[in-house]
Symmetry: C3
Subunit: 333 residues, 3 copies
């Protein structure tokens, strides 16, 4: 299941062809005309057939162990990469990565509605143990486990997998998503939509291709009208037994751990990682590219702009440890 | 109308059977094997046939007058209850209540899409004075008053009542809800969904059964994409002539009074009570279990974490009286 | 295209009849019984056939150049208007304007779902170069440009115009809206709904008629579950190449310039103007009737309550220039 992909990459392409239009320096040995690249992947997931990218020091632990045969990076970061990884040094790592990714996935910069969907009443014999409402549309190769229930006016696009005993509400759209067992998705959720990723180039936004997925593990619950973006190159994910309230927004690549409680209208900017047993109060916001530890509590309305270590309670805007927040407020009285 | 229920309780059950699995102390007289319990209700609504629960000192006024024959509570609260009310003293009032409530309402911990709905064009003769858009699905025993207009792709589940001259938009879902006259619900609202209520027990979330309703009184208006949760045991309610802007989130059991103005993206955590003539600016948040008085003004973006007396203007995070907020900001310059 | 209207005004009416029920003073010459009024328009757009209204000093630049033959205003503002403009001086400019506007547009105070819509599979021959999903409903006179793609369960109401190469998601509703080329609207957006405009009069909300539109210029992108209100008398508008993330809320009459980046869950209260090249972080809020300059950066979670000049970076609640915010936070440590 964890290997399901929603788009197959074009290619393979020779590395030289992929980067022919980019201004770059190359460090490392190897004939660019002979290195075949099969896909663009994160540092963590890349194999020796893949190209990766490395644009922030926070990914250093993954960089030093990556198996990618080549990596787009900057001059200041290149030395964290393994010796046998070919370094392609550019000015704007994300822009170059987006350009190359677009060659593998020419349509993945936009979120095209799936045209393969069919009304479920014509194909419901394929899902004998599933209970369907009315006017449900399902794409090709969708899997739905036994005893799951799907509400009305819901669209489930191609290749989505839904486990057993799931409860999907009405007016929901799901795409690019792998869902475990006993998952609840309430009315109006939009799951697996393209994330907010683009690179502004001279009065024009170059869209970052989104080829990642959404992974919802067993026993996850999502409240009404939540929006969860698919990953850009990696995945967006929620761990077992984590519950989200209504109108929560999760941007691309955010990973939330197990047993978390996320209250209404919380927002997560892209690529942050949230630990296990984390509780977040209503309307709090978590900035992008942060690491929130295990057993963290974030007060309602807080704005988190820094990493938070394990077992910490924070509050405020910007969020600080609770004691500090209380003291600050007292001083201000 | 106010007696409409969306699920009938199982039972009755003998009290002893209901609490046989809970660690508890009993105070008061009566034979647990002979006391029949017909339902679980709030302190305020319980009759002598019902069991109630009392877990916070803020409900003291209701506790001292409850007619419940028995009440789940804690050692520190029990003495507020009437003498003739049997006290069932436990560690975790909400967990015990949830367990018992689940016996009466075995399916109410999840929000199952109503499978009784039918496309309205097949049953529109039942609603001769209502104007319908396309692809509308309506459940059993739904009532809709004359001259109401319903938009397209909308789902109205069983037993919902809608008054006269109402305007319901498109892509709306409504369940477990009683709606007065002249009510406007704009596109994309999700009304009556299960609230965010569960008790974390050892890496598992025990869902609190939701059997309450949403009550929208005459002349209420809801903006687009609002989410309003049904009550857990009591109701979620909005008074006459109160208007909500787009993307407002109301959690379970919140009660808003008359003539209020709630701007866009405001969020209410569970069980708070808002008075009459209250205005709340955009993106403000109100924590759970609070009491906001009449004629209160809450500035946009504020985070309210304390009760607010009548006729007060507050602002800030956490919200303080306006003068204090302005002084605080001046001092900080 | 920019002249498309979604409702034609009733009338014309003689000015005397329009204001016969209002307490007012008149300044200027002209026979009220002979002045014919064809429409109510903003100061900027009014012609000599129209009535306008002027209720805030911020609109002074438009007031002094208005071509309106008459204008509803207050005693303190009247002298900014041109000499040949008849001044109708009242206590509550918006209430009088709303009452008069309602005579021209008797149904525009409510957002009636369009009953002219038909399922697109019956009329898709009218759109030979458009790709449609399933269960799409389209109103009269809707135009959709070539190569556009429309998702499922989407409703597009009468007179909406959509350009070429647009991508509209599923479960979307669009009304009162003019859309350029290459525009992306993701799943669940509600575009062109009536705004949150009413005047509370003695326990009753007098709704302000909404007759404006939403204008989305070329290359705009909207994330999932955004809500964009139509203008009240003017328009709500987004300039070329501006991208909005998920769950953004734009109230009536807000105007956003070109090349802006608006992150998730940002909210705009009514009638503010945002310049070009503005970036706004997640969950920030912009109060009503403000002017945000060009090249402004607003930090995530900020609450903007004042005008912001060009080229300024602000953060905080209330938002202040970044340096000040950082200093303030340091002092508080």
């Amino acid at each position: 299941m964890s290997d399901t992909v929603f788009f197959l990459p074009k290619g393979p392409f020779y590395l030289e062809k992929l980067i022919s239009n980019s201004k770059k320096n190359i460090e490392g040995s190897g004939d660019l005309k002979k290195i075949k690249i099969f896909d663009v992947k994160t540092l963590e997931k890349a194999t020796s057939k893949d190209l990766s990218f490395f644009n922030s020091v926070q990914y250093r632990p993954f960089a030093s162990h990556t198996k990618a045969s080549a990596c787009i990076t900057t001059d200041s970061l290149k030395d964290y990469l393994p010796k046998n990884c070919l370094k392609i040094i550019v000015q704007n790592v994300l822009f170059t990565t987006a350009q190359i990714s677009k060659k593998f996935y020419p349509e993945a910069d936009l979120d095209y509605p799936d045209q393969s969907i069919r009304e479920v009443k014509k194909i419901s014999s394929k899902y004998p143990s599933v209970t369907f409402g009315k006017n449900i549309f399902i794409g090709k190769k969708v899997k739905i486990g036994s005893k799951s229930i799907i509400g009305s006016n819901t669209v489930i696009e191609h290749d989505v997998q839904i486990g057993k005993n799931c409860l999907i509400g009405s007016n929901v759209t799901i795409k690019n998503t792998i869902i475990g067992n006993n998952v609840v998705i309430q009315d109006g959720c939009k799951i697996g939509v393209k994330g907010f990723g683009f690179i502004p180039i001279k009065d024009n936004n170059f869209r970052f291709p989104h080829i990642g997925r959404v992974i919802l593990k067993d026993n996850v619950e999502l409240g009404a009208n939540c929006t969860i973006d698919r990953g850009s190159i990696g995945d967006t994910a929620i761990g077992e037994n984590t519950f989200l309230d209504n109108q929560v927004h999760m941007a691309h690549n955010v990973k939330i751990g197990k047993n978390c409680m996320i209250a209404g209208q919380v927002g997560f900017a892209g690529s942050s990682t949230i630990g296990n047993n984390v509780s977040i109060g209503g309307q709090a916001g978590v900035s992008g590219h942060l690491k929130i530890g295990n057993n963290v509590k974030i007060g309602g309305g807080s704005g988190v702009v820094k990493n938070i270590p394990d077992n910490t309670t924070v509050m405020g805007y910007p969020a600080v440890p609770l004691k500090k927040f209380l003291k600050k407020n007292k001083n201000n009285e």
